[in-house]
């Protein structure tokens, strides 16, 4: 594939869902993987935050020579810094995850960047099939394992879904040896975020089935009624051709035959 492409993958610090330990974020690692398959190790991996963070070396361990870090304090707004950087440096494709694993995790970063740069945004992609003549063929992941083909002109922003190819393993040694290039950057404090109160997630109450019965008979009925009472159509004593036709008609009506 064309290697003169300028592909930027944005990475964040992930969090293991059970232990809470910092790790490379799953979706961001997939974005890096996708970028490396498109452009080899020419892919530029960008992070806004602290360059001293050891977790970043897990991305570098995937086979990158260097990582660029926009040096910022944790209170700063990363989207502003990334947007400024991308406006200055030419990029053809910007890859991000769908949602961060730590912090506010609102998933707004790709949208805000695309809005700021004025580029199209393709969400939840599974793969970039090809990039030719300034146009990219993309596979988008849909619910229920379906895929949709999409065509978009460069430059664009894309968020990478969990359906994309799993990221390669990270090697410890190359990760240690990779260069973390730290750029001092203007900080924009995130004042709105400072007013948020954060606490460990509470368990959500389960929704209970409400019985709106006014009489004992209705309550009795609600308590004893079988969940599937009515039963459907039964076709009996008919030739198999007609039986098969009935099933086939239902499949057509439901639109599951493609």
């Amino acid at each position: 594939m064309t290697s003169d492409l300028n592909i930027v993958a944005l990475v964040s610090i992930g969090q293991h869902p059970k232990s809470g330990r910092a790790r490379r974020a799953e979706q961001d690692a997939r974005a890096v993987e996708l970028g490396m398959r498109l452009a080899g190790d020419n892919v530029q991996v960008l992070h806004a935050g602290d360059a001293a963070e050891e977790t970043l070396r897990q991305y570098a361990g995937m086979g990158l020579k260097s990582l660029r870090v926009l040096q910022q304090s944790p209170q700063a707004d990363a989207v502003v810094a990334l947007g400024d950087y991308l406006a200055e440096h030419r990029a053809d494709v910007v890859l991000t995850g769908v949602r961060a694993e730590s912090g506010e995790s609102s998933g707004m970063a790709p949208y805000l960047l695309a809005e700021k740069l004025g580029w199209p945004l393709v969400t939840r992609i599974a793969d970039i099939v090809s990039i030719e003549n300034g146009e990219a063929q993309i596979l988008q992941a849909l619910p229920r394992g379906q895929r949709r083909a999409i065509q978009v002109r460069l430059p664009f922003v894309a968020s990478v879904d969990m359906a994309a190819q799993v990221a390669r393993q990270s090697a410890f040694g190359p990760g240690r040896r990779a260069e973390l290039e730290s750029l001092p950057w203007v900080e924009t404090p995130d004042s709105e975020r400072a007013q948020f109160k954060e606490a460990p997630a509470r368990k959500r109450p389960k929704r209970l089935k409400k019985v709106k019965a006014t009489t004992a008979a209705e309550r009795f009925k609600a308590a004893t009624a079988k969940s599937q009472g009515t039963g459907g159509r039964i076709i009996k004593d008919q030739p198999p051709t007609e039986q098969a036709q009935a099933i086939f008609d239902l499949l057509l009506e439901e639109g599951v035959l493609r």
């Binding site: 912090g103 988008q140 949709r148 109160k197 997630a201 198999p240």
Partner: protein
Amino acid sequence: MSDLIRRDPRAEWIARNRLHPLHAAMTAPAGEVRGPSGLLRKNPHGVGFIGPNGIKRIDRSGGSNAAAGGRRGAAKSAQAVELPLHVVEAPDFYVVTVLDLVGGRLGSHDKDVLGQAHKLVNGLEGNGAVLAVVFGECKEEGFGLAGVDRLLHLEGSEYEGYSPEQRLAALVEVERRFTPRYWLFPDSINGGNELGCRLAARLGERPATQAWQVDTQQTLCRGAGGSSDITRATPRLLLLAEECAEPVDERRHEALAVELDSIAPSLVRIRDCGQVAVDPNAIPLAEAEFILSAGNGIRDWDQFHQAAELLGATEGASRVVVDDGFMPRPRQVGASGTWVTARVYLAVGISGAIQHMQGIGQCDKVVAINLDAGCDMVKRADLSVIGDSQAVLAHLIELAREYRHGAAENAA
């Protein structure tokens, strides 16, 4: 016909027995009686009914009415309960909800969002209306019952398929025209999240995502990939998690159609080239849309695999055939296998052990092919075919082949 009033002992017996399945149908309230002066007359002798031992019983709970054995008024009970209609004539403000409408129908997530919208309307002063925006094809009839006061249905070729830019342009127009107090989106992968985020970025709002406890002051939403709760002041744009509020169920709403004057066609930079055919067996069983499942009744396995391939169905299996080695363990449906969520589940030769029925609890349409008409699977199924599965599958394969062939010819 004689004028003799005959007793109907069976009807009397049903009227006495409040747990009888026909009780509600047989004992409908009698129509009101007016005297010559127009006065409402009550017949004290008509109250209650005669019990089996000849003693008069009066049931004050209203569960059973008099007129035991009489033939009057039986038709009236069939009337469905009419919920009170909630009318908003000139709304002071709007709360706009943008609904997913998966498959053209309201889902439970959509209904929860509408319920949340009414909770917010009730929390504010003045009378507000809930405006629902839906895109594309729509088969839903029950918008009024789900709590929609005003309905904006945008349809046309420009909204077909994946068209986020055009939809966003329409929402920006809605913002300009109605200036809603709140924007509510379902935070779902069916498009609600994407559209909400796009609008938030365009309007410069900071949305609350995965919000699950919302009132007019404060919002509680999940952060850090669901591992933390963020408490914040309620923003104007909210992406709501599932089960964020109870759906509306105690009144009807008008669901009046509203129109937008004109929406400027947006520049289309993202072109939708349609859905791509995927290998159905590569889709995880838990999220497959159409499953062909095999049970102990299958003898010809080659035929079964051929049928699955031609129908484009994901293969599933019951525990027995997995234990017998005909299918791999990951294909097992049921309590110790996968809990599936298919829209159509075609069970061939599965009688329906309770563990299996648990696994298909969330399926919409179940079709059974079985020799035994009395088995549990047939009781659950929406369409059951009683007969030899091998013969039915053979004809099904033929039909599918014709269908594919016809489609290929039409395309050529």
